[in-house]
């Protein structure tokens, strides 16, 4: 039996059939038929954002914290163009989101109609795939296909552009199980010969390291469990990219911390000195590799990735394995166990003792102060006061605070850490925290922010108020664009060109204006009480944490340097240990 319905009805029906219960959006002229349908049903909750970019990032937060695709509904023209940053962000970080954009009626396309934009043309390079639907009969099939494409293979954003006349017209509804999805079927199982080659390398490696990424989290809970199993069974050290934090617990013995430009000393040194690198679901991003011709020069490299274009894109690898992380790890563990669970015990023991020496450097130590809150200290206290909470979700904006959060906060589980990695989108964190809180209404959701980033999408506090979302905006306010300032400090002779905010708003008043609670703290001795006040408040909070204005983020691999040429904290190692009040990690 085929069901006849209007295009607008199909949109709602297809979303319900796909198991969607929440969408983020903003109405406008061309989207009105779909909005009218939403009004007449109760299965899908629509979260009204304050800006379409906010909708896209909220959907990303929703998706990354649940593992389900996030859905966005916007109108034509500016509604669609405002999602471009969110789409690009989702593309670079492999986040499954579906953007439904309305379009002017088909007969007006190309006439420069009111609120017309070539949405398909504009979003072609920033989506995994996009569709313009000109025929209502095809709409439902495309909607189902879009969910398939967004969530299978390497996940990513998909946009569907729906002209207004297509929303009004009646057509045949294609049921979910009848939609054509067969032609997009990325390979899940890895080549067993390549997996066996990797296992052989694992058996003899003296200095192995596992370098895991967001692909492990995208692959799902079984991938995370298998990764943990692999590390436990082999006792190989593991480091992770910014996107991969939480796949392996930060409290685990083999955990080395994040690697890369602001990664931990021990992780980067181990990457540089290893003889076997096992890349699991990461992509050799330039923030990770540093100088390419000096990247881990003496290692054999294996790379597990579902996207064939990730293989050999930046770094040539010896053992490429194309497949889904969970599938490959399952086979890998099986082969390794069946061959006798061998590792090079002597080599590993020496390797671990070398790693302990690197750890002893305590690269995250810094010179604390009793007068002014150091940003690192603020995050250490936030970590200490929220540790052990399984329901703690952290989002971030982009900049120094983001790197400090990655360094000083520990993640025990996947899907608890939402940050803009590939694109580095300032303004990501506040709307992302909204999306996370919508998905987990009772959880503790904290956006670790810088004041400059936060101002880029702070309008979403209105959304938080409207839906009673108790998001905590923890703003490390240094009155600077901290990371820009740091680079100007290191590379441009301290000429702080435009990296300094002279007219910041009063964040307390701003909180009040949005109907949120404002907390301000400038004294390290008040910090714990202030954080507790934030945590106890049942409602949205804007926490203005006034921190040291000139702190740099270390360790740092300067642009163009290899992993073993890190700049370390200006605190100095011996110095920091002797300083009263220094809090060591």
């Amino acid at each position: 039996m085929t069901r006849q319905m209007t295009g607008a009805e199909m949109v709602v029906q297809a979303l319900i059939d796909q198991g969607v219960d929440t969408i983020f959006g903003y109405p406008g002229g061309a989207a009105l038929p779909i909005y009218d349908e939403l009004f007449q049903q109760e299965k899908i909750k629509h979260i009204l954002v304050r800006h379409e970019q906010g909708a896209a990032h909220a959907a990303e937060g929703y998706a990354r914290s649940t593992g389900k695709p996030g859905v966005v509904l916007v109108t034509s023209g500016p509604g669609a163009t405002n999602t471009v940053t969110g789409l690009t962000d989702a593309l670079l970080d492999s986040v499954p989101i579906i953007v439904l954009s309305a379009q002017v009626p088909t007969f007006m396309i190309g006439t420069d109609a009111f609120q017309e934009a070539d949405t398909i043309g504009i979003t072609r390079p920033c989506t995994k795939h996009n569709y313009l639907v000109k025929d209502t009969d095809k709409l439902a099939g495309v909607l189902h296909e879009a969910f398939h494409v967004a969530t299978n293979g390497r996940p990513g954003p998909v946009l569907i552009d729906i002209p207004k006349d297509v929303q009004f017209a009646k057509g045949k509804y294609t049921e979910k199980n009848k939609a054509s999805t067969g032609h997009y079927a990325p390979k899940l199982k890895g080549d067993i010969d390549a997996i066996t080659d990797l296992v052989k390398l694992m058996e003899t490696a003296k200095r192995p390291i596992i370098y895991s990424g967001g692909g492990v989290i995208n692959s799902g809970d079984s991938a995370t469990a298998l990764l943990r199993d692999l590390v436990k069974e082999t006792n190989f050290p593991i480091t992770s990219t910014l996107m991969g934090l939480g796949a392996f617990p930060a409290s685990g013995d083999q955990w080395m911390g994040m690697l890369g430009m602001h990664g931990l000393y021990e992780a980067n040194m181990a990457m540089h000195g290893c003889d076997l690198m096992i890349n699991i679901g990461a992509r050799f991003d330039d923030r990770i590799t540093g100088r390419i011709d000096a990247f881990s020069p003496k290692s054999k490299k294996a790379h597990i990735d579902i996207d064939p274009s990730s293989i050999n894109k930046v770094i040539h690898v010896d053992v490429p394995i194309i497949g889904d992380v969970a599938h490959v790890l399952e086979d890998m563990l099986r082969v390794w166990k069946s061959r006798g669970r061998k590792t090079n015990a002597d080599g590993l023991a020496k390797w671990w003792s070398q790693i302990e020496d690197w750890r002893a450097v305590r690269c995250l130590s810094y010179k604390n102060s009793e007068k002014v809150i150091k940003p690192q200290y603020a995050l250490q206290r936030l970590e200490a006061l929220t540790k052990g909470r399984k329901d703690r979700y952290i989002t971030t904006e982009v900049g120094q605070h983001q790197m400090w959060a990655a360094q000083y906060l520990g993640f025990e589980d996947p899907n608890r850490w939402m940050t803009s990695g590939g694109l580095g989108t300032m303004g990501y964190g506040c709307p992302a925290s909204i999306g996370v809180q919508v998905a987990h209404p009772d959880a503790l959701v904290i956006n670790v922010a810088g004041e400059a980033s936060w101002l880029m999408n702070m309008q979403e506090m209105g959304t938080a108020r409207q839906y009673d979302l108790p998001v905590k905006q923890f703003i490390l306010n240094n009155e600077r664009l901290g990371m820009v300032r740091q680079w100007q400090d290191l590379l441009h002779g301290n000429r702080y060109s435009q990296s300094w905010s002279e007219a910041l708003p009063d964040f307390m008043l701003l909180a009040q204006a949005f109907g949120a609670k404002g907390i301000t703290c400038a004294d390290p001795s008040d910090l714990d009480d202030a954080i507790m006040e934030m945590l106890k408040h049942d409602g949205p909070v804007v926490f203005d944490c006034l921190v040291e204005k000139h702190e740099n983020c270390y360790p740092m691999i300067p642009s163009g340097a290899p992993h073993n040429e890190m700049l370390m904290g200006d605190a100095g190692v011996a110095d920091a240990i002797g300083t009263t009040g220094a809090v060591l990690v």
Partner: protein, 187 residues
């Protein structure tokens, strides 16, 4: 400065300028890309090349299976072996792309291009044009008292050679289709 006495970046080279494309071997490859014949698919493929900085030497596209909605895009591209590998992987992961064949790598193949040449001239030059056309097996498809249009099919090199010869005789315009190519053999 670091207490560990680690010197700041000993090289001025950054990750961005390490790859000198001219330092490596540049290869020319002919790729056949089978795609769903849907609106915008060509823009998608071209956008991939321009967006990622790949070269297109020649490009042809036409529907080859009306019922199956399939088109065949033939791209001639140049790059280092690594870049060619990336191009194929990037094409292969696009949703409307069904198949990517590297005809240069997969074995012997046949490549042909069709070209039209408008050549204007009179007297002895006209006779010379016709003589060369015969040698190159080009057909006259239009003629005025002062001009010819020749049609020729062949490899790109043959078309280049004919154009070079026609140039001093009064070549006015050339139109080329770009390369169409098929692998030899039964499959």
């Amino acid at each position: 400065m670091s207490p560990l006495n680690i010197k700041q970046g000993t090289s001025r080279k950054s990750a961005y300028d390490l790859k000198d494309p001219n330092a490596d071997v540049i290869e020319t490859h002919t790729l056949a890309v089978i795609v769903t014949n849907e609106a915008g698919v060509l823009a998608r493929v071209i956008g991939l090349f321009s967006g990622r900085g790949y070269n297109i030497d020649s490009l042809t596209v036409a529907e080859i299976d009306h019922e199956g909605h399939r088109s065949r895009i033939t791209v001639v591209t140049t790059g280092t072996p690594e870049v060619i590998q990336q191009i194929k992987a990037q094409l292969g992961r696009m949703v409307p792309v069904h198949d990517v064949h590297d005809l240069t790598e997969e074995g012997p193949s046949v490549e042909r291009e069709l070209a039209l040449f408008k050549v204007a001239g009179s007297g002895d030059k006209r006779i010379e044009m016709l003589r060369l056309a015969e040698i190159f097996r080009a057909n006259v498809v239009d003629s005025t008292l002062e001009s010819f249009i020749f049609e020729m099919t062949g490899t790109s090199e043959k078309i280049d050679a004919f154009a070079d010869l026609m140039h001093p005789l009064g070549l006015v315009e050339v139109a080329r289709t770009g390369v169409a190519a098929l692998a030899r053999g039964t499959t």
